[in-house]
């Protein structure tokens, strides 16, 4: 019996202790009329058989030279990251409610909070959220809770289009209005002019992506100051890898953004078809009691020895029930374990080098792509490690042909931004070498010729 250790003798001794004749008798409180269905036939596989099946399926999926980013980025993950993360003591441990039996996870989360607060330039961080998109939705809810009167969020269309949908799905039943702000067709970022119609109105928050979905850098200082001048919170939605190079949200404008959220995947989490990843959330000290999710604090034990506990739990659903800041119960503990080990291995200089190389590779790729006839970068604004380019022929067909050569050439922007025409979003992280860029450009050249 897979994963059931009971011998026949165990079973009969246990039933005798209970005073039952069969295991089935233990289900006698379930009304017989409900015991209707049996399961469809499904043979159990041995470990060897399932290994073979999964390996076959993995091979069907193959490996590609990938230039897609769009919110999930391929970075080198040091071997130590997942070897330590999948140690049974991390992998199979429970949520650290019993602090004395969970100091490993709790201290690690405290270290994670310190790293994320510093990376974002904020005062405090929680112990993580589900993913970047849902973290942004929670930040919007947090802004509405802390604002006295407004239930309106300003959302630039340069924010990841799926994030915008997720925010809508999560907040729509709470009477929150999400107003989309158009981008500058030439520079590819949000302009203060586009916000002007809302000046002086009651607004809970302005969302500021950095870099934005097009890979373009937003004028974060001016946008943050605009939000504060209009009594709105500034919510930064940022790529944590970019923050090794870029001004952190806590230093935007004259007083800094109020909340920083984003997708933690670039920090040591494999692409794995979209998950599990983790969302991060950091904020100013004044907002900490409005923050959802688990938070770890440092304290002392009976002997005065340093230890770590889950704290400020009065915000959470298991204490506050219907009055909680959020219904969120879990964090993405294992993913954060990996991210913490990743950041520790890379350190400030390693992380900066990964970010700088990703930037340099993308700049080089765009320059080489622009040597092809009819291929041109769409926006003039500065970029981090991603760029939107226009193609002379329909994007879908081009992508198909490059895929046949083993290259995933980028994301077709047509679905979310039809106004851009034949447009492609490309990304070249530090994992790409000069030959990879050359191969891409050569094949694209052939396809377009």
């Amino acid at each position: 019996m897979p994963f059931i250790p009971h011998t026949e003798e165990d079973i009969s001794t246990m039933l005798a202790s209970i005073g039952a004749n069969t295991i089935e008798e233990l289900f006698d409180e379930i009304p017989p009329a409900l015991k209707s269905g049996s399961l469809k036939a499904l043979p159990g596989l041995s470990e060897m058989e399932i290994s073979r099946l999964m390996q076959e399926r993995a091979e069907v999926d193959g490996r590609y030279l990938n230039f897609i980013g769009a919110g999930a980025y391929e970075h080198h993950i040091p071997a130590a990251v997942w070897q330590i993360t999948t140690r049974g003591e991390f992998y199979s441990s429970y949520t650290p409610y019993q602090a004395e039996a969970s100091q490993g996870t709790l201290q690690l989360l405290y270290e994670y909070q310190t790293m994320m607060a510093s990376l974002t330039g904020m005062d405090v961080s929680n112990a993580s959220m589900y993913d970047g998109a849902s973290a942004l939705a929670e930040a919007a809810l947090m802004a509405v809770r802390s604002h006295k009167s407004s239930r309106r969020i300003l959302m630039p269309t340069t924010v990841h289009p799926i994030y915008r949908r997720v925010v809508r799905a999560i907040v729509k039943n709470q009477g929150i209005e999400v107003v989309e702000i158009p981008y500058c067709a030439e520079c590819g970022h949000t302009l203060l002019e586009s916000l002007a119609p809302y000046a002086g109105q009651d607004i809970a928050a302005l969302v500021i992506p950095q870099p934005n979905f097009f890979g373009v850098l937003e004028p974060v200082d001016a946008l943050t100051d605009w939000a504060h001048d209009n009594d709105a919170l500034a919510i930064g939605v940022v790529n944590p890898m970019a923050l090794a190079l870029l001004t952190p949200p806590g230093e935007w404008g004259s007083t800094g953004a109020d909340v920083a959220v984003g997708e933690g995947q670039p920090l040591g989490i494999p692409l794995s078809s979209g998950g599990p990843y983790f969302g991060f959330m950091a904020c100013k000290q004044s907002l900490v009691r409005q923050m959802p999710g688990r938070i770890i604090g440092r304290t002392t034990d009976l002997d005065g020895k340093t230890g770590f506990v889950l704290t400020l739990q009065a915000r959470e659903q298991h204490i506050r029930r219907s009055k909680a800041t959020s219904n969120i119960c879990t964090n993405q503990g294992l993913m954060v374990t990996a991210a913490t080990i990743y950041m520790s291995l890379l350190g400030p200089e390693g992380l900066r080098r990964v970010a700088a190389q990703s930037h340099a590779n993308t700049v080089a790729l765009v320059e080489q792509l622009e040597t092809l006839k009819g291929v041109k970068r769409i926006f003039s604004g500065p970029l981090f490690h991603e760029a939107a380019v226009t193609l002379p022929t329909p994007t879908g067909a081009v992508l198909q042909m490059l895929k046949a050569q083993g290259i995933l050439a980028g994301l077709d922007l047509g679905e979310h931004y039809p106004e851009l025409g034949n447009a492609l979003l490309v990304c070249a992280t530090e994992t790409k070498i000069a030959d990879d860029l050359k191969k891409y450009v050569e094949h694209l050249g052939r396809v377009l010729a």
Binding site: T299, F308, S326, I328
Partner: protein, 483 residues
């Protein structure tokens, strides 16, 4: 010692980041970071040693028995992890074309089909990233269903008082008012209170069955009739599906929507607090509102269904398709079990729980609902022990840590005083349960002989009882260089 305290300026790992420091062109100076982030500057060995040592401060399934009620801490097979982490699965970009992910999508499609069968529901979506998000999706669909029929009068969700805290919190997030109903003496929902609570304002009822008291709601068919006749829908919190897997299907009990906590029933890892994953299943009438994406199989190919095919969908809950890697682990576990193995999940979880309940009762522990069968879990109440010795449920829980067991769930459900919610899970042997019973007996004796010692527990863990009040009053949430 914190990782930051191992840090020395200028120390770094040369193999793990680009060897040449690339030039940063094209980024204006004012957008660049002025001071580096506070990340540790340590060697690879420092990192490996530090985090290996931290791991050793944890209790875990791989090292300890967790009789943790409502949490289902069962063995996490290693094959599920290693096969979900095959390089091709890890490398696949979520936005890569569908035809580059047919192997992965085949697993997801089959998982959807299997979950439809075990829940008895008409459709399944795999996207919710944790139980609480599954609930959010489920209640949002209930709301979408009523509104699509032009029924805007339904503003209330009914929740029993024994429910998980996520239930009422979720109802509020979906814009509903929560109506709480009490539990009767035998542990079932108070039917008179339910009848009084339903009406034209009822959007739905959220119910866990078997309940968090570890008993099967015998009146479920009647409850279903009452709620449906009032025009409401029935939400199944699938937290305890493991207790009835293959025995009763939530669809057959009359539920309209359900979430399944995969870690509990299908043994995905807890990971120190996540990631979770909570697919949702729906009855026919909620199919048009399911969250996207969903995997379809057409003309021999797997593909995503999105807002285009499901225009009334309540939308998306994550940037991609939820916690894909967790779903893969659950799929692998199910294939290892097969149908026979799935029946055994419920059978042996129930056998273990009833055996433990019988033996602890014989040992002198008071069972909260002694006339009932345990489902996969049961409640011990230490009200009497506290009155006689001053030793509380929390003290007993902490003393168990000294004996090498993770504590049971304490003070939940809140309606049973001084309670321990105990759930052994099917993967534990009789010998482990017997050793646990011996330790419980020892603690009972200690409570009378040396109550102060028990109240001071734990004594053998890496730290002793921690000061929660200080942590909340003077929050120290990040390390500062000067401190």
């Amino acid at each position: 010692m914190l990782i930051f305290e191992h840090s020395r300026p200028g120390r770094r790992n040369y193999s793990q980041s680009p060897t040449t420091a690339a030039e940063v062109r094209n980024i204006p100076q004012h957008l660049l970071r002025k001071t580096p982030p506070l990340l540790p500057e340590v060697s690879e060995m420092d990192t490996v040693r530090h985090y290996t040592r931290l791991s050793q401060l944890n209790f875990s399934i791989d090292t300890q028995f967790y009789p943790l009620g409502s949490c289902t801490m069962k063995y996490n097979p290693r094959a599920c992890n290693s096969l979900a982490m095959l390089p091709q699965f890890l490398a696949r970009h979520p936005l890569a074309p569908e035809d580059t992910g047919q192997g992965f999508l085949a697993c997801m499609y089959e998982l959807q089909e299997i979950l439809k069968d075990v829940t008895g529901m008409a459709g399944v979506s795999l996207t919710p990233m944790a139980g609480a998000q599954g609930e959010l999706v489920g209640v949002a669909m209930i709301r979408a269903y009523h509104e699509a029929r032009g029924d805007y009068a339904r503003t209330e969700i009914i929740v029993p008082d024994a429910a998980h805290g996520t239930n009422p919190a979720t109802a509020v997030m979906c814009g509903y008012t929560v109506v709480e109903i009490p539990t009767g003496k035998e542990g079932d929902v108070d039917m008179a209170a339910l009848k009084a609570a339903v009406g034209p304002k009822t959007a739905g009822l959220m119910l866990t069955n078997p309940s968090t008291l570890g008993i099967f709601e015998k009146n479920i068919a009647e409850m279903s009739r009452i709620v449906h006749e009032a025009g409401g829908l029935l939400y199944y919190d699938g937290a305890n599906l493991n207790a009835i897997l293959g025995k009763v299907k939530p669809g057959d009990m009359g539920f309209d929507v359900i979430h399944i906590n995969l870690h509990k029933t299908f043994s995905t890892p807890h990971g120190g607090g996540g990631p979770g994953s909570a697919p949702i299943g729906v009855a026919e009438r909620l199919l048009p509102f399911m969250p996207v994406p969903i995997v379809a199989f057409e003309q021999g190919k797997y593909r995503w269904l999105t807002e285009k095919e499901i225009p009334q969908s309540i939308g998306r809950l994550s940037a991609h398709m939820g916690n894909a890697g967790v779903l893969l682990r659950a799929y692998i576990y199910i294939r290892l079990l097969g149908a026979e193995g799935m029946y055994r999940v419920a059978e042996f979880a129930t056998l273990n729980a009833n055996y433990l309940m019988a033996e602890l009762s014989k040992a002198g522990f008071e069972i909260a609902y002694p006339t009932r069968r345990a489902s996969h879990e049961f409640i011990v109440t230490l009200k009497d022990l506290k009155e006689k010795t001053g030793v509380t449920a929390m003290n007993v829980a902490k003393r168990l840590l000294d004996k090498g067991y993770h504590a049971p769930t304490t003070y939940f459900p809140m309606l049973v005083p001084e309670c321990l919610l105990i759930e052994p899970a099917e993967t534990e042997s009789k010998q482990t349960l017997d050793a646990f019973i011996s330790s419980m007996k020892e603690i009972l004796a200690e409570a009378y002989a040396q109550p102060e010692m028990v109240k001071g527990a734990p004594h053998t863990t890496p730290v002793r009882k921690l000061d929660d009040v200080k942590a909340a009053r003077e929050p120290d949430l990040t390390w500062k260089r000067s401190s």
